[in-house]
């Protein structure tokens, strides 16, 4: 899922300072699960803005609400009437949600309340870890379920490199130990009884599907709805 983190309140206060009517809109999918941008967090942020404005003696009309997904037009339609009463929407969704709102609400200011961080998973309660960079050309079949693009700091396809020591990457520090992705791959193969797979040479990766060619788009003619047909 998409992992986000609320922006520092100071930044939010600063960016919303000129608005008198603010709608703080949560998103109940990925960012709600990572406890950054669901309804609870939207209410918390709205309350913080309201209190700050009272401290500054600059009253604000503020409301917190949420929709199931800000990244789909169908769900954004649900709040079309509500947003008319506000000068700005502070979106607690990921960058995808913010941009979908902006696209759907062209005459409304839409601001981000989160810093979208990465695609990842909850390692344990309160800890989230990146494990996919959406490179567009998955190599997990060649590395047996552990992504070297994300988990190896150099994203090398034939590892480990000389910087791997006792299972840790050379960029590890005392406070931030980073597992060597290729060590993890080796350990996984050991469990599967297939260490010899480490000898396979993974060919050069086709990066043309990655971000370097600008925003990517997928078109599926079989599921497109053509009006009038």
């Amino acid at each position: 899922m998409i992992i986000g983190e609320r922006k520092p309140l100071e930044e939010i206060f600063d960016r919303t300072a000129s608005f008198k009517k603010i709608l703080v809109l949560g998103c109940e999918t990925c960012v709600a699960v990572c406890l950054a941008g669901g309804k609870k967090e939207a209410e918390e942020t709205a309350s913080s803005i309201s209190l700050h404005r009272k401290e500054e003696s600059k009253p604000v009309e503020i409301k917190a609400d949420s929709i199931q997904r800000q990244c789909e037009y169908e769900f954004v339609d649900e709040i079309a009437d509500l947003v008319k009463d506000y000068d700005v929407v502070l979106s607690m969704a990921c960058g995808v949600g913010v941009q979908t709102l902006a696209e759907k609400l062209p005459d409304k200011f839409v601001l981000p309340g989160l810093n979208t961080q990465f695609l990842g998973f909850p390692l344990e309660q309160g800890v989230w870890m990146e494990n996919c960079q959406a490179c567009g050309n998955c190599v997990l079949d060649m590395t047996y379920g552990i992504c070297p693009i994300t988990r190896c700091s150099k994203s090398i396809l034939n590892g480990p490199c000389g910087g791997s020591s006792e299972g840790l990457c050379e960029i590890s520090t005392q406070d931030n130990e980073i597992a060597c992705g290729w060590h993890l791959i080796y350990e996984r193969l050991k469990v599967l009884g297939k260490q010899e797979y480490m000898n396979e040479v993974v060919p050069l990766k086709d990066w043309s599907s990655s971000f370097h060619g600008g925003p990517r788009k997928i078109v599926r003619e079989d599921v497109k709805i053509v009006r009038g047909e």
């Binding site: 309140l9 918390e44 309350s47 209190l51 700050h52 401290e55």
Partner: protein
Amino acid sequence: MADINLVTFCCENSAFLAAEKANMPGVKAVKVPCGGQIEHVHILKAFEEGADGVLVLACLHENCKHFWGNDRAEKKVNYVKGLLDEIGIGSDKLSYAPVASNNEIKYSELVKEMIDKLNEKGSTEGKVKK
């Protein structure tokens, strides 16, 4: 002291029983099913509605009926303290403490301590007077 609005969020299994026995006039004791059930927004809403200070009071260490409710309450309070600093209210207007159900003396002391601190600081800027 009469002008200070103090809200205490109290676990119904411990601090709320102490609050009932202490019966302190002018102090709003809010009963919660467990310290861990208190959300950040509940504390912020108390300030929004005019509280000058908030105390979150839960069970003694390792004495929570729900195992970690008191530990979670303390962590949440620490998080909200950070928010209050960012907002400009100041983290010293919020405090966490464990209180046993039969210790109304400790409850009264914590309340008096907070009220004294708030009296020194003055009431919350721009709060809605009721």
